[in-house]
Structures are given as C-alpha cells and as structure tokens.
Amino acid sequence: MAHTFFGGVFPATRKSNTRRKPLSKLTRPPLEVVIPLLMSADGPSVPVVRPGEMVSVRQVIAQPGADGGAMAHASVSGRVAAIENRPHPWGGSSLAIVIRSDGQNNPWSGSPTPKEPKDVDLELLVSRTRAAGIVGMGGGAFPAWEKVSQAAGRVDTLIVNAAECEPYVTADHRLLLERSEKILRGASTLGRCLGAQRVVIVTEGDKLNAAESVERRLRRHRSSAQLCTVRTRYPLGAEKQIIQTATGREVPPGGSPLDVKCVVFNVATVYAIQDALFFGHPLTHRAVTVTGGAVTRPRNLWVPIGTPLGHLLEEAGGLREEADLMLTGGPMMGIPLQSLDAPVTKDTNSLVCLTRGEHKPQGNGAVCIRCGKCVAACPMHLAPTFIRRALDEGDMARLARYHVEDCISCGCCSFICPAQIPLVETVARARTALEKGVGPR
C-alpha cells in the first residue's frame, strides 16, 4: 500500500498505560444510569417511557423525534427515576432518562432475533442498524443507518477505521484485539451489503498485536478483507486522511467520502452493527478507556451507556493527583469535561485526566518565526500561518484564496507551533469572518 497522507504530527502516544489491560466489566455496576436524549448528531430523540416505569436491559426507551435522533435503549434494568436535565459530556446539559438500577439486568423480551451472516441483506442491515440506535462511535455520532443507506451501491471500498490516532486512548485497540473475529464478520457482511469490492481495516503500528490477531483470522477464513497497518501518525483516523491512506483518493473540497466511492466506519461502530445483526443486541454497551497521568489505575472498561463518568473514575481507583484537565475523546480533539456527572454516551471512547505536567494549556502565542511547521503538518494542505497573517491584516481577498473552509480542526498546527500560537482557533475565526464576509474588527 504505497499511499500516504501529507503532513501530520507525532504526539507522544502514551498508550502503554492501558494497551495491555483487557476490556473488563465494571466490578460495581452503576446504581443509576443517565441516558441523554441527545446522542446523535442530527438531533435529540423522544422518550417513550415515563418516570416510574420499570424497564429491562435493551428495552427501547426513546425513539427518533420529528427532527432526527436515534433509538435509545436501557442499558440496565430498573425503574425510570426521572426525565430531567443532566450534564452532557458535549458541554452544557440536556434532557436525559435516569434509570435507577435494580441490579438484576433482566433482558428485554422484545429484542429482534439473531440472524446468520448469509441471511443479511441491505434492507435488514438498515432497519437493524436503525433499530439498534447505532451512531458513529468514533466521535462524530452521525447516524450509522443514514450512512449505510446513502452508501449502498455507491461505494467500492469499505474502510474500517481502527486507527485510533488520538494519544492515550486504547478502547478501539482492545476491541479490535479481543473481538477481531466478530469485527471481521461484521465488516465483510457490511461490505457485501454495501456492494463494496474491497474491505480495508486500517490500523496503526502501535497496535501490532491487534493487527496480528486480525491477520491470523483473515488467513484462516481466506477472507477477501485487507489489513492495512501504517506508521502511527496523527490524524490518520480523520475520515479524509484514512481514505487517502487506504486508497490514495482525495475527498474533494466540500464533498463526502461517497464522492470518491468510499465509506468509513469506526471499528466500534462495525462491532455494534454486527452485534445488532447476529445477536439482536441494540447498542447498550461500549468500550471506554479511563486513562491519563492523574488516574490511579488506568484501564479499559466495557460499560453500559449512561454510566456517569465519575463512576468510571472510581472504578479506575480514582485520581492519585489533582487533574488539571479532564476530557472525553482524547487529548487532541477531545471535549473538555465540565462535570463528572456527565454520562458515557454512544460516542464517548475515553475519559482522559491530564495532570498539570502532561497538559500543556494553550499559550497566548509568541511571535511567529515563520518556521513553516504548521504548513508542513497540515494534512489538509492549508497554510495556517498565512491564514493568521491575512486575518490579522484584515485582508479578506487574500484570506479567500487560502481555502480556510477545508480545515478539519485536527489541531496539528496548534500542536506543532513552537511559538504556541492558537492556530486552530485562528483558522476557525477566519472561517467565521469569511462566512460573514467582514473583517475581524
């Protein structure tokens, strides 16, 4: 595979804390789970249960509303305590269904029947994915069934994104290592239903044991899927970059992966889809890495969706020193956590607690010395330092020539800048300024 993408940076991955820790279930199940209604990028769902009602595991508790949203399922059995505003990991708060667990975990009787891979067709795939409430689990939270139905018949390559280029996070790594059989089965079924001739699993060189496990199974099953292991580089996991790495195609500006006949699913999403197809399980659990220098016993956990993040932290032994910053989703593109009461959502892959030493907060920025590292690091071929200068000078005509709208906010430029200039924010400001058509002042 001679393809690669331009730029990128090499942050210290610091995955050794958790890369050998298997996905383990919670030793103390949560007493209460908080399932936010907003778990999909297209909008909040509508609850179908009322406070006081008893629910079982995998029971539907919310369904898509008028303006989108995903199905939500109870991840524990118990009584619905309330439907109220609770903190949301994306920031702020949103309506959430609070279920007080009874500790029984009684399964729901209404789950769909498991299917064999050969019985699955596109229609079933879409309906099952939709019924299981699966959204993009890599961080985008885009409804998976929409992606499936849009991609069907229009793609020739299915890419399973197991890159996990964010430092610290190892949830996808453990998932790929421990459940490679199921993931492969899911990926090939997905590829067949979508009409993709080629199924590629892209992973990085720091997950060689997972890659080996996949490789062994590919050989055993004589599967047509391919494994593509590339050198660890951030942001390989970004959609456009992973397509470029796997196929050499570039997604046109403003276009979608479908324009280059590719579709990308996160490895956790693929796992959830196969769970829904072959076991009839909706998306109620996911892998979460609790890590960071401030955590006493960093580990990978298999947790019910809706578990408060504070509970995960207790499971990992709590904090051994004061955390300077806690965030979900990895330190490069993560979301700062405002409250530990916020629950695990479908797209939460990690809880990272950084100490003061690890977390290097954004400086105000010194003088640019024109080193050009941001230009050499930008995977989208932008020139952040020129964008910054044009914005500072208020030269909108020049700014318009720098393709600011292509930015994917991966943060490589801010990361690499030796003068610690907040370039990502600058580019975002430039984008707003261009949209409004006026200068920054």
């Binding site: 999909s40 990028a41 430092p167 050009g372 930008c378 995977p379």
Partner: protein, 551 residues
C-alpha cells in the same frame, strides 16, 4: 439539517519545543563546529565567539530598551546570531569585527524590520558579508593547527581550497583532510564532519527539515558532477565542491533560518535549489572563489515570491484544477506587486490655534526628538561599543605604535634599551622621556621639541645623555619640501649633532654647518637641539647634568 456537535478544543497536548528551545537546539548543533574551531585555531576562536554573542545580546538589549519595546533576550535568537556570525569569520579577525558585524546584523537587519521573525534577510549572514567587505579580512586565512594566541595575531595566510577550485584544479589537501577540517577557512566552516554532526542533530530533533539543505547540497552536487573541468574526476570534483568553502555551514545553518526561508515545503525546495544554482554560478563565474553568502542573501530577498508560488495544492482537487489554481494564484501574486509612490505633503503643518506662534513648532521638534531620539541613542551607543572594543582590543595598532617608539629610541639614544615616561615638564618641550639600559640605569633624556622650519613646524626628538651630550636626533614630522628641506634630515646630517653639548652655533667653535639649500631647516633643527640641551640641563633632577657653553 441542524447538526449537533460538541464544542471542541484545540489540542491539549503540545510538542515540547518552544521557539527558544529550537534556537537553543541550533546552538547545540553548532557546538561540534565550535569545538573543531577551537581545536584548529586555539582559544582565540572561543574568545571571538564569546565577544560576538555578548555584543549581539547587548545590541538587542540596547535597542529594545532604548526604543521602549519588550525585552527579547530570552528567546536566545540574538545569541545565535552572534555565534553564527563569529563562526563565519576567520579566526584571525580582530575582535572589533564581530562587534561591528553584530551591530549591523541586530540593529539594521533584524530590529529595524521589527525583530525576530520579521526580518527578510539572515542577520548573521548580512553582518558577516558586510564585515567581508573590510579590506584584507577575508583574504588572509590562518593556518589550521597553528594555535593563535588570544592577543596579537600573525596570521600566516593559508591558501584555501576554494582558491584552487576557483582556478579549476583540485586543492592540495586530500578529501580526508577536507572532511576533518585541516584547511584554511572561516572558523566554523573548515570541518565538514562537525557540520554534518550538527545537521544530523537538527534533523533528529526535527528543528529543521531536510528540504532546504537537501535541495541546496543536491543542486550543487549535480551541477558539479555535470560541469567538472577537463581532466578532473567528476565525483572528486563534486566532493570538493560540497566540502569546500562555506557550503555546508551555509546549507545547514544559514539557509535554514526559519525567518528568512519560505514557509511552504515546496517553497523550501525551490529556495534550496535556487541557492545551489546561484552558489555554483558565483563560484564558477564571479571573481571571488566563494559564493555561498551572496547566494543565500539573494535568495532571502526572493522568499516572498517563493512563499506564494510554493503554496500547497488544495486537498482533493485534481491535477488540472490544481494547475489552474496555481496560475490564478501567480496572477494574484503579481498583481500584489505595486510601485508605491509616496504622497507628497503639500502644505506644511499649520500651528494649532491658541498657542504662541513658535510654540507649536517647538512641539513638533519635541515630537520628532521623541521619535528619533531613541534611534540617535542607539546609534551613539553602538558606535561607542564598536570603537570601544576597537580601542581596547586592536592590538595590531598598539603593537605598531610600540615598535615605532622603539625604533625612535634606537635612533635617538642607541645606548638605551627602553624608554619610560617622566613627570618632567618644561617650556618648549612637547614630552620628555627617560631612556634606560637593560640593567635599568638611566642613560639620558629624550626631549621632543618643535621648531619652525621652512615650510612649517619641524618636530624632532633629541636624545641627551647625563653628560649633557647629544646622543642622537630624529625628525618625527615635518612639512618641509621634499628632496630640498629633507637634505638636512638625512641620517648623515643628523649624525653631526651626536656628541655635541652646550650651545651649537652656525659657525665658529662648536658649530654644525647648515646644509646648503636647506638653511632654514638646518637652522630649525639646530635650534631644536639647542633647546633640548638647555631643557635637559635645567631639569630639576637629582643628578647634575653638565652644560658647558663654549669652551
């Protein structure tokens, strides 16, 4: 469709290197070169570097303080400029040269454009090339392994390999010596080995990318391979071209200065190739053997263009669209070149109402003073520093003066070994010095006197021993007519005074004849000698000096 997505932050991790750490890394990368310089040229190399760095830091501090700007010493860029400047000078340069160079580099090239990152020319290189215009500095190269003393320098000019390369022949040194650095040249450039160590360090630390040095050295190597002169092996010629002169120093340390090289990767490649092409051309066709400095400075001036031309292709558009976009960008860049005609101010500033007529103008003058005052202060301080270092350390001049004094002493008082100043003052004597033998015995006194000759004052030094006898006469300055007046100053003419005492007259006893044709000068000298004799006789010394006037 409304999208719900979280407010993301920019990365919470950073690469550890800050600007000053990067600059410190470059200085660390220069340590091998500095070490080899000290090994080859002695501690003087170290002293030159220290002086240069201190001067650069001082000028930076001075300028920022006097113009009331923030202190930027902490980013270490001034120290790096000083170090690079010193390493690109010959080890035999006087100490004031790096001071002069760093004044130009820091104040004119760097700070006038706004400081770090805003200058368009490499400050160290500009300072060095200005210093290179000083006569004889860049033509005498000290011999390596001949350790220079900290003080005065007797540079034995060593032929640099570049001189023979310029003539189209291979130098006498073998390639191994070139690699290690046993050859003439600037302090930092002699050892290719040390510079390659530095390059490896910079690349490993990701301070620089290989684009500029690679393109630069590659272009020079290709051109050397293609155009080697007749009868010279091509690979050897290329190897000498690569290791000779300042090419490695320039390619690794000067052409990679972030502020003065293009930002974009493609621009950096073009920059390196341009530098290589210019270097090869200058080496082959200019009258100087070396062209690295001018090549890099010239390309520095083209960076604005390369920045625009080298913009990365937009992600996700095909080759055709990319080409079209490149042309559009080029057109836009060309449109940006404007010839700005300054608007001429038609009316002089009217004094404001409500003030005395003169006061408004005074205010203007005050405002101008406020604006330009700091610059004048900077100028004055800079000059003071340069000339101070010059006066303190220019040992060549001082030594020449001592030597001239010694020669004068042997002419005036051959018996004396050395002279020292005396506290004596006398009417008509410009200075009175005492001459001593090597045992420290007083021989006599040398009196500097002046008398009017034919064309103006004649200054002479007359030696008088303790017996009141003239030991010698020397004319130090005069404005007499050449070949006529100077007839009275020939050694033979002056020798006639030796041994005389008392008052010398024009005729009769104790007479020294006037030299024909130079009567006025002769008389002036005789009068001077008489005055000196009288002064010495009247000195208030412990020893009585005899003065017998006409037996």
């Amino acid at each position: 469709m409304k999208r719900y997505s979280p407010a993301r932050l920019s990365p919470q991790l950073r690469q550890p290197a800050t600007t000053s750490a990067m600059i410190l890394d470059v200085m660390v990368a220069l340590v091998p070169a500095l070490g080899f310089a000290v090994f080859f040229f002695g501690t003087r190399a170290l002293a030159l570097c220290a002086i240069s760095m201190a001067a650069s830091a001082l000028f930076e501090l001075l300028y920022r303080k006097l113009t009331r700007q923030s202190n930027t010493i902490g980013d270490l860029s001034a120290c790096l400029t000083g170090l690079l400047l010193a390493l690109s000078l010959p080890a035999s340069s006087p100490y004031w040269v790096p001071v002069f160079g760093s004044a130009f580099a820091i104040i004119v090239v760097k700070q006038f454009y706004g400081g770090l990152g805003k200058n368009f020319m490499n400050p160290a290189l500009a300072g060095r090339m200005l210093a290179a215009t000083l006569p004889t500095l860049m033509t005498t190269w000290p011999q390596p392994l001949q350790k220079l003393s900290l003080g005065a320098v007797d540079a034995v000019a060593a032929a640099t390999p570049m001189a023979s390369l310029h003539e189209g022949t291979l130098p006498a040194q073998g390639l191994d010596l070139m690699f290690l650095g046993t050859r003439g040249g600037c302090m930092g450039e002699v050892s290719a080995f040390a510079l390659l160590l530095g390059l490896a360090y910079l690349l490993l630390r990701r301070v620089i990318s290989f684009r500029v040095p690679g393109a630069y050295l590659g272009t020079v190597a290709l051109i050397a391979l293609a155009f080697a002169p007749q009868g010279v092996s091509r690979p050897q010629w290329a190897a000498y071209q690569l290791m000779g002169g300042g090419l490695l120093l320039g390619a690794v340390f000067f052409a990679t200065d972030p502020a003065t090289t293009p930002v974009t990767p493609r621009g950096q490649l073009m920059f390196g190739a341009g530098c290589g092409l210019l270097t090869a051309l200058l080496r082959a066709f200019s009258s100087y053997p070396e062209g690295v400095g001018w090549a890099i400075l010239t390309m520095n001036c083209l960076v604005w263009l390369l920045d625009r031309v080298g913009l990365p292709r937009r992600f996700g558009i095909g080759n055709f669209a990319a080409t079209r976009e490149a042309f559009a960008g080029m057109r836009a860049s060309l449109a940006e070149i404007k010839f700005v005609i300054p608007k001429r101010q038609r009316k002089p500033d009217r004094p404001k109402q409500g003030k005395m007529p003169g006061e408004a103008y005074l205010d203007q003058i005050r405002a101008h003073l406020k604006t330009f005052g700091p610059f004048a202060l900077v100028l004055a301080a800079t000059c003071a520093v340069i000339f101070g270092v010059h006066a303190l350390t220019d040992l060549d001049t001082a030594r020449a003066e001592t030597q001239a004094e010694q020669e004068l002493l042997t002419q005036v008082m051959p018996q004396a070994d050395h002279a020292s100043e005396t506290p004596y003052r006398a009417n008509g004597a410009i200075s009175i010095t005492a001459g001593y033998t090597d045992q420290g015995d007083l021989v006599g006194y040398c009196v500097e006197v002046q008398n009017n000759g034919f064309g103006g004052p004649v200054t002479m030094v007359v030696g008088v021993d303790l017996d009141g006898k003239v030991t010698g006469v020397a004319v130090t300055s005069h404005s007499e007519t050449n070949t006529v007046g100077t007839r009275a100053m020939t050694p033979a003419a002056l020798k006639r005074y030796v041994g005389r005492s008392g008052t010398i007259r024009a005729s009769g006893d104790n007479a020294v004849d006037t030299v024909s044709g130079a009567t006025a000068t002769s008389r002036a000298i005789t009068a001077g000698v008489n005055r000196a004799l009288a002064i010495v006789a009247n000195l208030d010394t412990e020893i009585d000096i005899s003065f017998s006037d006409a037996p």
